[in-house]
Symmetry: C2
Subunit: 312 residues, 2 copies
DNA sequence: GTCATGTTATCGATAAAATCGATGTAAAGA
DNA sequence: TCTTTACATCGATTTTATCGATAACATGAC
């Protein structure tokens, strides 16, 4: 058994194809096939059922692959130990961030973080929650920054802060007259929503206590994945929307006028650093986590007197 | 990095010598040296300080080796998964047992256990507690059966039963007249003791509340490592000794006459299955554990109304 | 200091392996 | 049925691991 063979079976499991796996491993398909055959022979068990298309792991193969991931992970930690001692993390850090956090949070932390680890190649991927979870499990991402809980036992989530939602209302709206708003107010108003697939859409609907199934009535049907677009819709048209508080950091005075905070307990979303349980690049990820926690307003850090909103 | 390289550095760490490690790995010393050099080069750190004699790991080397043990362990579990699925454990199981347990416990369980795992090569090593702990940590033993607690964070102990101590008294002794004995009685009598290094010696001294430092007065100085010898000494000469209850199982009537049980709470020793935390051959070891628990008298299984005696 | 001894590093040769490109075979889709 | 896609097989080639011999080095005895 060699570590390379373990990498090969993990690649095949990930891509469900010998050809694709070979490409990702930078070897030819016969090489990969041969090595996997040798591994199967040496342990005395078939790992993949090649009669199915696409290939699937056998029963015992599933467990072997799970254990192979663990073994490979532990072997890679040896390199991390060295880098840690040298004090200079190298390699790449692949971060998945949901689109309703990324543009507002990352600019606050990335420059500082990159200065601390100059040799680290940062890769940011803006994905939906679902996609981030999938890629984390497949080992294609190192960590995810997303709204939790995600209720997945394979993942470890470490809450970093609780970001309040705020209402953004057109001056033509009735809500504009109020100093604070409640979820009932929102319900009555016309509401710009993110398109399906964004966890924040679910959270906003939960705030308004609208069921996902029943299409909210007073909602403009304009499918956008961008919080920025929601804001502009309110600016240019009318109605209201709900924004995460970090997104209003660089609003001008005119725009701030249209912000309405929620009555206590204000609705918030829990933002966590999510990894697999036995994760690599711990040093870098833990540092990023600290950097993020330090970068958000103090009042975000406690969830007391707040209403943590789920998205399911 | 290859698994073989990890094996090599672990061997060098274990034997503190390239030559000895090479021998144990069944390769020549240049081969082992080369591979370790390649590993050091690939991770970019020196693992061993060869200027010292015997060789010692560097600071970072210590951590690398610790992690290498983990990685190798996890990779070996892959083979166990296969064997587990086949339902037939192969390979060898190296068991360390202290001499005051081995001859009385093992005959009760080994034949049954070997029938269940016919392909398993059993290796029994009679060692002192100290030696078993050392070999477990070095990975030279798979599990140990010994008296606990041993207070070693690197090891996991799972108590299996609580074995009472009984007194064995010559008919010429005053104690012979009593139906039950107490630790005070023993203190007054002449006592045959095991030689230094046996944990049971410490336990017996603790029962009598004698300090280790002060050499017990009424003790015959005959250094033996065998419980059987203690018994014979009492048989042939006089005085008394303390035996573990399992050792009296095949006593004849005459010998049973000389047994005196302790007054409640009777002194007992805790006998545990000891492994490292992340141990291999789990399947076999767990089965052995069950076999042992099933083989001892029911009354051994609870520690209620008993006085668990340490040996330090 | 010198010598004997034991330990690790280095070297060239050789055996073992991993990999490649070409090709064969079997299954899935048009 | 034909085409396409995917995995297995084969021989050639490159790469790697290992060996035996030897050099370099450290340690302890004298």
């Amino acid at each position: 058994m060699t570590l390379i063979q373990l990498e090969y079976i993990i690649a095949v499991d990930t891509y469900r194809s010998f050809v694709a796996a070979a490409k990702k491993c930078f070897v030819t398909q016969p090489t990969l096939s041969m090595q996997i055959q040798k591994l199967e022979e040496s342990i005395g068990a078939r790992i993949f059922d090649r009669s199915k298309q696409p290939v699937v792991p056998t029963d015992v193969g599933v467990e072997i692959i799970r254990q192979a991931r663990v073994a490979l992970m532990e072997s890679r930690k040896i390199n991390e130990i060295v880098q840690l001692k040298k004090g200079d993390l190298e390699g790449e850090l692949r971060i998945g961030v949901i689109p309703t956090i990324a543009p507002y949070l990352l600019p606050r932390v990335l420059s500082g973080f990159m200065q601390k680890f100059p040799k680290l190649q940062l890769q940011i991927w803006e994905y939906t929650t679902e996609k981030i979870i999938h890629e984390l499990k497949a080992g294609l991402l190192d960590c995810g920054i997303l709204s939790t809980p995600v209720y997945d036992a394979a993942l470890a989530e470490r809450p970093m802060f609780y970001e309040p939602f705020v209402a953004y209302v057109a001056s033509s709206s009735d809500l504009f007259q109020k100093r604070e708003v409640t979820s009932e107010d929102i319900l009555a108003d016309k509401l710009w929503l993110l398109t399906e697939g964004h966890c924040m859409r679910g959270q906003v609907l939960n705030i308004c206590q609208r069921k996902r199934s029943m299409e909210p009535e007073g909602t403009f049907e304009y499918n956008t994945g961008s919080v920025e677009t929601l804001k502009r819709m309110v600016d240019v048209n009318s109605g209201s929307t709900i924004l995460p508080e970090l997104s209003i950091a660089d609003f001008d005075e005119d725009q701030l006028c249209r912000i309405r905070y929620f009555q206590s307990p204000e609705p918030v979303r829990e933002i966590s650093m999510v990894t697999t349980h036995n994760y690599l690049k711990k040093q870098a990820i833990d540092a990023l986590e600290k950097e993020i926690i330090a970068s958000v307003p103090k009042k975000f850090k406690s969830k007391k007197k707040k209403d943590v909103v789920g998205f399911d």
